[in-house]
Assembly symmetry: C5
């Protein structure tokens, strides 16, 4: 098996998927504690204000007081990259009147996706999934979105480019986004995240497809570990993706005044995408299950074939060795030994036996 | 195994089943982008107008403005073959007042089957499934149907003959279809599509049956790949068929004024057919699962039988070889070697031993 | 394995279970086309009229016009054996005011069990299941029952004796059936059909029990095919039986005026029987699944035992053969060969070795 | 394996679990026919009358007319041991105004657990489960309870002691039972039955535990049959226990005037117990499934180990035998044969080879 | 395999998980009987009274009469460690007006988690789960919480430190807990318990992870028993954790006046945590299932590889031995024996054969 070129196995590792350390048991609920691993040195806050006629953007805002961030006359989108600065999160919570439980969930990166309505705002937790081409890992990132009357706050763990598309659409004058309310902005953010799911799931699908093709061509003992790894990755993906469906369904059905009738069709569309993603993940899972079975069958069959051939070789030689043994006996009186051509006859017999056995095994389809 | 005539394996491949590339993440929803592979050089539009007393037909209409297509006094059925011409789709959308999200879904051939009510029309997405006898593939085609007050628009990816039956029934003067509203036409289109499912699923069933029969007669190592392929095809079929049931159920329960009471019994009948299709697909799936298990059992049993026979041959010869070895020893003093007839006695003993072993294995049912 | 008497394997085949050819795609719904295989040469129609005080019976009625069959003053039960005469079905449909979709479903023997309420009547489709002792097949027959205000029409594919019990109860003066409305007659017909399920499922259970006992006693390679066949039969049975439960549940919950309060307790009882049947089928299915696993385990264990014994025989002889080989060498200087009793000592050593190995294998529980 | 003492295997057989012969198909519903095997020679009827101030008891009452059994001024509990006397059941039915379907279900011991409300009474069917320590069987007994306004009738197949506890509590003056209505008595009876489930399921659990321990210590080929038997027993238990949960849930939710508010908390408690029983049964089932897998793995691993050791023995001797064979050749010119110490050198080489192989296999962890 | 250092296997045993002995069948419901094993010598009762302005604490209170415990002007939290003192439980029940069924469930440590509303109080049963680092066991402890208007009573089996965090928060003046009603205290207690689940499940996850890593590196026959043990532990955990979700869901939906609107958001948060725990447990379960399969595949593959190598060694030597045997024959006339260099030629042939076989097996990827 060593002739195969050693290539880097596309082993997918899902970062931060199953870890779930919560705060010290018995601690007061609503305690804002950062749970996770810090990915950025410094928290960066970007703010965009927009209305149908224009927009303004402030990069790397430093929030000292509420006056810095609240503005009533336009829609404000504040994007916070990094949630490890607990003080900052608490300060923002105060300005926008957020419930302590909301703040706890923002900083706890192991929180499960969910939506919750609070007086004055809707709080959404979801997971960003990205396939990191360099490390061939799937990164799962904690994302929180707060939808208020005239503002949307989004929290990311890292300073990714996931919302760049939305930013561009706000900047371009012709877009629908500037004409709609804040709920459409929240929808756009969630939609961006779910769009990235397609990329990740598809990349995963490509790898599964690749492994599947290889399995049928030339199964390899190490493949079982790769399938095992893929199965675990799919389990992690499932855990991140499943709750989103319910979350969006709850938003579609919600009667909160923050959700306008105009944006409902878009939320419904997002719901469709969620189902499509889940469909894909489940299909991949079924395929992986089938691959495992098929792989085992092929490998075991191949092994059996090898053993069969080896055993057949032995079986052909064993009677011959026996015959040789017979004429190696030292009996005084063994007439064949004296025969002329006895030796050649024995060779003839032995060749006949081996040919017969070979033909017999052929006819039985054992070879 | 080489005596078996090499025949083309009925390997089913499902085109376009699991692919799901959506538009660039973060792009504005409602952007009409063609997703899929273009199957036709040119989009062809055919229009039929009919009312209880007559009908007229225009083939290969070129839509320049709305005046070309809208007519109020009769029911209009516009069939569009090919959805890759985004401009055309947008022009039609404008004429019939379709929502941008609808247009996006028409051009996105990876969209999941669904039904959605918009003001003024109902939008249905489904999948056409056809067994291509030439390539032995199952083709999955994206179909959209828009049901308006006095019009129905159907979009196909290709210029197939799936709606020919409906066309004939409109042309024939006696049919019920000319007497009913546009919802009956929409029903007829969906019914045609679902009728084709039966053909495809049945063809699949024939192949499964054929493989199953072969497995029980003469299992073959390569069959495992065929079962693997069939399992994957069934997974794809399931994904295309399952959502349709829910879709038709929603239409049956819908209270839209576009759906008349008279056609309800037909929709209910269509719902029945959907369940029947799903039943079939699930049954095929269970059968395939059982086939895999049974196949493995038979193959492994057969292999074991071979190994057993080979091992028994060895086992019979090993004591004989030992005896030959004993009398091949060069001890000075081995009385048997001097005996008269010693050689023949050894042969007698060896034959006796082998016959006894043979009989013993027979009695133990090992042979 | 050849000592076992060759007995006819109780292989169950389910006729007409998974076939589902529907009418030509795109054909008009409501087209009455016979789908299935014709079982009778001629359609036979028997009519019974009854009321609390008496009854009259007409065998082999020929229906020319509606006057032949409709009667208002008593309850009419018309039993039609054979549904391939499409004209007749249509004529009856006209007389009793049946919807075209109903007629289509009567003649389509692949229609799934269901219940549907139409103005003026309730239409029920179900499947008759019978174990044919001669051919050892399970026959599935299409049965339709139409419950009208003062009439019940039943359609069978064949002229079986399934309704004989009901006929007898009408003829006997003391029965409850003559005192009740037409819905009780419909109930009695369905009850007869479901009662036959018990017979078929029980017969199946006996066969499973028999195979199970045999497996534990003396598993046989061919049994795997029998289990495979039984599994497929159970799948078919399930498909025929499952929908009936929902069907009867809908009748129990229905508020149709055709269903009187008095008969409700009987429908509920029928519902109980349906659940019991499904319970049985599911239990049989689980048992079959377990049988497959257990059978494989036993067979594989037995095979392993055989291989172990054979390998042990080889293993005992191999060192002996080696020793014989050593003293067969032709070295000039081999002192043992000159020893007095050298030959006998070698025999002693060889016997010692083989006994030690035997005892060792015993102690290790390998023998 | 023969050193193990032969102990009676704790094989559980479930009597009367899957049998389900119903009455002759097509017979009139409500026909009271005894289905099952008669367990008692004679039906015994015991009656207890009680009210808050006192109680009276009549053993082995013979019911000739209704006057014998009905009493209005106190709560009457009639316990009937044996349901094969159809006449008696019908006579009781007449006295208490029971529906014919009720009577049919009382005598049909294959009836599934259920609850049904009739005018004037509630009819409950359930299954008594007892572990018979003598025969090591699980007995399933048919129990019916009829709850009327001022009476409760219980029907058992056998004259067990299941209700002794309830009897004692009525006799003791301080019990709550005498102060409550008849529904509390019915609850007490069902509670007694469900309490016995715990005993049976626990006993089963002990056996499973015992088998599980043995499997991990010293798996035995026969164990597979025992696991198979336990699996089937659990399937039967499940079938008897599952419907009870739904039954009690329906009683809890029922709005029948026969069920007083005071007893509701007790019914709810009973419901809890039912869920707990089902939990246990399902857990046992999962454990059995896991046991099967683990057992197979251990057994197969052990077998493989044996084969490996045997094969290694062969592998060590085969090169040695080859060397011996070489120097057994009769070539005229073989210098080694003439060497001084050639013989001893060959021994040295052979010992070296075998030791090297042994060490190599050790280092590879093959030994 | 003996080179691996023998380390104590992290075998998890779940104490008291599946045991379910209930009270003597037929005994009166509401009989308070201690079921379980006594863990403490003496019951200890600690009482804390608090209101927004202050708090007082009494350790090891001895309850003689109701006057000792009831106080109306502040919120009273009574924590009872040890439930085996049935008299005490009954005395408390009297003071606080608890239903006999409640008392029974407090003392019955096998009671399933549930919530029940009684007049005047809500009764909650749950299970404390803790990973005991010393014994490497998972301990399951029975916990009951009674939420009254101005009091909360908690019952533990043991004197653990699970509620220490809550106690600290009451003592600290700034906490939210002192400002809220008794339902917030009950929430805090349940939240503490559920927080401990995370610790236990995570510890379990670490062990699974550790075993998984080891499996992929160096699978070991004993691992199958460890996986078996982990699977059973997960089954027990599941049984303890699943019902809590439903329990908290019922509290969230409850309309009891004891549950204030202010605490609802906290209960909802607790519900989220329950789902997260269940998610984790299910994920662990799936991983364990996959581990079993993968482990078996790897082990069986490794075994096969060993057998293959051994068989190949045999296969190479068998033809050689045959050749040696041929030239060991004693035929008078064997020309090769007389050839010069015959012996060396034979060696050459034999080396050629073995090298060819070796290369052939290499090329076939069998080595």
């Amino acid at each position: 098996m060593k002739t195969r070129p050693l290539r880097p196995s596309p082993r997918i590792r899902v970062s931060g998927a199953i870890r779930t350390r919560r705060i010290r048991p018995g601690s007061s609920p609503g305690t804002v504690v950062f749970v996770g691993e810090q990915r950025l040195a410094k928290v960066q806050i970007d703010v965009i204000h927009y209305d149908p006629v224009g927009w303004s953007e402030q990069l790397d805002v430093s929030v000292r007081g509420c006056a810095d961030v609240v503005r009533e006359d336009s829609i404000t989108w504040m994007n916070v990259s990094g949630v490890h600065d607990v003080d900052l999160v608490e300060r923002l919570g105060e300005c926008f009147g957020l419930h302590p439980m909301t703040l706890e969930d923002i900083a706890n990166t192991t929180q499960r996706p969910k939506v919750e309505e609070f007086p004055g705002y809707i709080f959404m937790v979801l997971k960003m999934i990205a396939f990191n081409e360099e490390s061939e890992n799937i990164d799962i990132e904690h994302v929180s979105v707060i939808l208020g009357d005239h503002f949307v706050i989004s929290f990311l763990e890292d300073d990714g480019d996931v919302f760049d598309g939305v930013r561009d659409r706000i900047r371009s004058s012709g877009g629908r986004i500037r004409l709609m309310k804040s709920d459409y902005l929240a929808y756009s953010l969630l939609d961006s995240v779910v769009d990235h799911y397609f990329l990740a799931v598809e990349r995963m699908g490509d790898i599964i497809e690749e492994v599947d093709d290889r399995l049928l061509e030339d199964p390899h003992p190490g493949d079982i570990k790769e399938i095992h790894g893929l199965k675990r990755s799919i389990l992690s993906l499932r855990k991140a993706v499943w709750p989103i469906r319910e979350e969006v369904a709850m938003i579609v059905k919600s009667e909160s005044p923050l959700l306008t009738g105009e944006s409902r069709v878009f939320w419904r569309d997002l719901y469709d995408h969620c189902i499509q993603i889940i469909d894909l993940v489940e299909t991949h899972r079924d395929i992986l299950g089938g691959m495992h079975d098929t792989y085992l069958s092929i490998l075991s069959h191949r092994m059996n074939e090898v053993m069969k051939v080896l055993t057949i070789i032995s079986t052909i030689f064993i009677p011959l060795t026996f015959i040789a043994g017979v004429y190696g006996m030292n009996f005084k009186e063994m007439p064949e030994l004296q025969w002329r051509g006895g030796y050649y006859s024995v060779w003839a017999v032995m060749i006949m036996i081996s040919v017969s056995l070979y033909l017999y095994f052929r006819r039985k389809h054992w070879l």
